[in-house]
Symmetry: D3
Subunit: 223 residues, 6 copies
């Protein structure tokens, strides 16, 4: 039941970095409004905008033993995605684990549970998106798994998927789609830039998007 998958496929580094640049909201739209985690996962500090390859870890409530196992599987450019087998807000991760993850090139942590030592993590510039900030300690007694598919923050994550995280939240792009989604996201960005300028100049979305007729036909009435 408890396995560590040691070989996972990753998306090309350039694609991952491109997805970091377009950010969560745009990538989410580009893939048809899918892949977002719940809004309950929030960054411990503002301003980080990253992407990486998912290394996943599934742990029991109140037990962070598998974190150590997962860290060995991390490579430069990875993001650690941590899920629990049941609801838990304990502080699974702190500055020591972050030091170790960082030494292996890990770019950050997404955890559907709690984190602690957030002052140190902030000072280290090691970004974390978590459901809670909680100092509650954990034990090391029960196994879990590494690099199996997990549901984290309501989103399905396969090992090697591209994970994008910024102030808007966390979005999963399936590895096989990453190249195409990046392209679509860039096109979307380009389209948006043109619209941004027209809107800034005072044009209305009602006119730019040609909405008035459709609104009227649906029955919208001005009084």
């Amino acid at each position: 039941m408890s396995v560590v998958v040691t070989r996972i496929e990753r998306a090309p580094a350039g694609v991952i970095d491109g997805l970091a640049k377009v950010g969560v909201a745009t990538a989410h739209e580009a893939q048809g409004r899918s892949g977002l985690m719940h809004s309950s996962l929030r960054p411990i500090y503002g301003g980080a905008r990253i992407a990486g390859s998912a290394v996943t870890v599934l742990m029991p409530p109140g037990d962070n033993w598998m974190m150590h196992v997962a860290i060995e599987q991390l490579r430069e450019g990875d993001l650690l995605i941590a899920a629990t087998t049941s609801l838990c807000e304990d502080g699974y991760f702190g500055d020591l684990l972050a030091t170790s993850a960082k030494a292996r090139g890990c770019r950050g942590l997404i955890i559907d549970a709690g984190v602690r030592d957030v002052r140190d993590l902030t000072a280290m510039a090691f970004p974390v998106w978590s459901r809670a900030i909680h100092a509650q300690g954990t034990v090391k007694e029960t196994l879990g798994s590494v690099n199996v598919p997990v549901v984290c923050g309501g989103a399905l994550v396969h090992p090697g998927d591209v994970v994008i995280a910024d102030d808007d939240g966390v979005c999963i792009v399936p590895r096989a789609n990453a190249v195409q989604i990046l392209e679509q996201a860039k096109e979307r960005e380009a389209r948006e830039e043109a619209k941004r300028q027209r809107l800034a100049a005072g044009e209305l979305g009602l006119d730019i998007y040609d909405m008035r007729e459709r609104l009227a036909s649906k029955g919208l009435t001005y009084v």
Copy 2:
């Protein structure tokens, strides 16, 4: 059912700006501890303290079409108040809509739902108070209404009411009462300033407010 009210009354600009200065807590007290929205609506960044005239918009869950309709109704000095017909945390509003709203003089957004592009909104200094930060995209299929009375964050808002928002939350002052509430709020501020100095000097509220006798008569016992 779906209407846009195009003419609304607004409070005088000087009164609105005065209410921004006294802030949420004082205005709320000055009007008899009423008008506050729930504590679940929080600012996306700290430090903003604004007031404006309410332009209201009511939308279905997961559908932000009426945002575009509402923006046309905004004038210099307005605040957009967005409510949904049922519980929703989707990201109804982002940097494009903010660009458009700002071009029309809108001072900010209060939304009992989600918002996205918060890094851009912060950079633009466009303040938002929301129930969630969530990148989740929305559709444009179903009508709602603009400038009808709405319940937002548990508070009743009529179009043209004065909305005050700062780090303490959001407070609604009915338009017809704005002048009087501002006056009462200023008096309260003046009274508080005198007390602040006495308290800072080490005097106790127990003495300043003459509470000891009443406490004893209620049965308070020191042991």
Copy 3:
């Protein structure tokens, strides 16, 4: 029923300051993973790391009268711990009460309810950990108690216990244990520092903590 206990024992100042330095997570671990408040109590601003002696106050919902009574019991180096007799998010405490508490040497407030005037409190550098930020005003009609044991944020607090609070949350160290817990916490810190350096150099926790054999014996499988 409503009493004010005027004499409480406090831990030595040096011990309290030592506990502030080790912080919440380490002290919590040092005392066997106990004493933490719920993760729902969060600081109104980041970066504060304090400890003090608990002066407790128990209040009815929506009524902050006893705050004034409690403030008289505060001494230099104390922390005010406020609990309510039932669930409440009202703003029991603002800048006037903070001014008064600060004048008596109080280092901060922990409240399982709401707080307001957070901009002023931040400017005064008066740290607060609360369940909510809410401007909602309260009345002064019903008694409570001061310096009785209270449950605050799910943790039992006796007057005079040492309270540690930082970005990770709030931890209670019973007064009688404070000297010993500080010593254990410092030892833990020393041990962690050595490990931090090894982890930063790329060694794995799996090896440092000698986990591989025990993991295998529990059935962990690499594939």
Copy 4:
């Protein structure tokens, strides 16, 4: 600030009883999907389906004094609608108040807070929809208002509005619209009955509502 409005208009008894019969879901649909309270208000026992004229009461947290004031305003066929000025789950209402309300012809209570003595209330067949069941007692110190407009469970309620409550929740029908909404609701019921029979016979909604073409034109693909 604290007022009791002693004269309110009510809808005709026959209309109210008709609305009870159509129930919450149908009435809510008949008035354009508006008027529903939050799903957090639940009945203390199953099976009740009632309607009545709203007598409203607004109370501070933890203080049920105004309940006694409100009860005097109740008439045969009324429903008591209780809101609080801030979030509270205390048990504002129990078997004594229910006995008094029932003696005046009150049909039930809707409260955006807590209730207690639920075993007795069930035995009395006095239905209550509440946010919580909680024995927590309240004080009688601070005024509120009776028969003013209130926001209860997120819905705006004017005194004299028709309130419908059943296992699906609580719906408000503005008094002035009650006759028309009842008529529309009955038409809806009639239409639904015909459809129910066709669906029970195995016909599909896809065919009855002629949806296939519109689905295809939107891009739905069968694989």
Copy 5:
């Protein structure tokens, strides 16, 4: 750190049974509106009204090992009070443990976590008040303690305290106060019975409790 206290004092059986009869709401009022657990603890089935002596157990998240240890400490007439060291909704208890507890004379379980096999528990008439119903299984790896003071549902419970539980929730009566609280509760019941009859006959609380003058002096206005 992990202890089992094998000798605890209990209140007299007659007092405990008397408190069961008065119920949660009345006992809570009789002891000055204290001792209640949060409203989030609900019975798995309606109608049970019990009291017993508290045998307490404190467990880590997701680990029910100490349940077996606690059961050995149960005697005829006890109630098991289960708390966790951090937030958890797992199903710590099911029909096998209930069978064992019942065999030792245990009257029920109060747990600030989850329970499972609720159909069987209901069929056995073994009442449980819990925060969740959840089938999630737990491990047996980490120690906790039995018969130490715990915070459960926000209430402090000492071993041997009297626990009352019914459809209104759960109330703790400290053992040393049990005789006196029972007496006060019975007096309260007697007073309430007289009032119930007057209220049922149509008299108003406003008159029975002589409230009109005090309401008027506070400023209540009828319009």
Copy 6:
């Protein structure tokens, strides 16, 4: 993006019925404590214990159009599993849809959103597990998908998986594992029955499971 998969594999009917009989808790344990949905999904009435093959539907917030599409895909013995693309509590399903689903042999609905007409559904004996009971109506404007993998209540569900639901919640057994899990579950039941009798006779789990030595070696102390 919006697809309907028309052919799915199902587990053998006998296996499905066997899994219904063992129930959620036992099946969940038999497959290594996995597959459970969140405790927030609760049955609308007690006592139902069913299993079926998953037909999945993914819908936008506030839009139940795809329900009609999904119903056509239902066969005798199926269960409908409904997820939404973002958080929503609206009433997606009521008595008309239930009538249609039942006519096609559907055994029940699991929905991570709201349901309405619960009195009628109860009368029809059509069981539903939902996150909310809410009359809130929905629109039919935006596509979703049928028979794609979905995350529902935090659990991953593939079309054709076996879904078990009873008073303890909802558990997913992947189709390919169903035969084996049923066998393991039955073995577990048999083992439990033997233990139940010993426990009922007063033997302790401490002795039956031979726990005393291991507890002592971990440091458990009796005082």
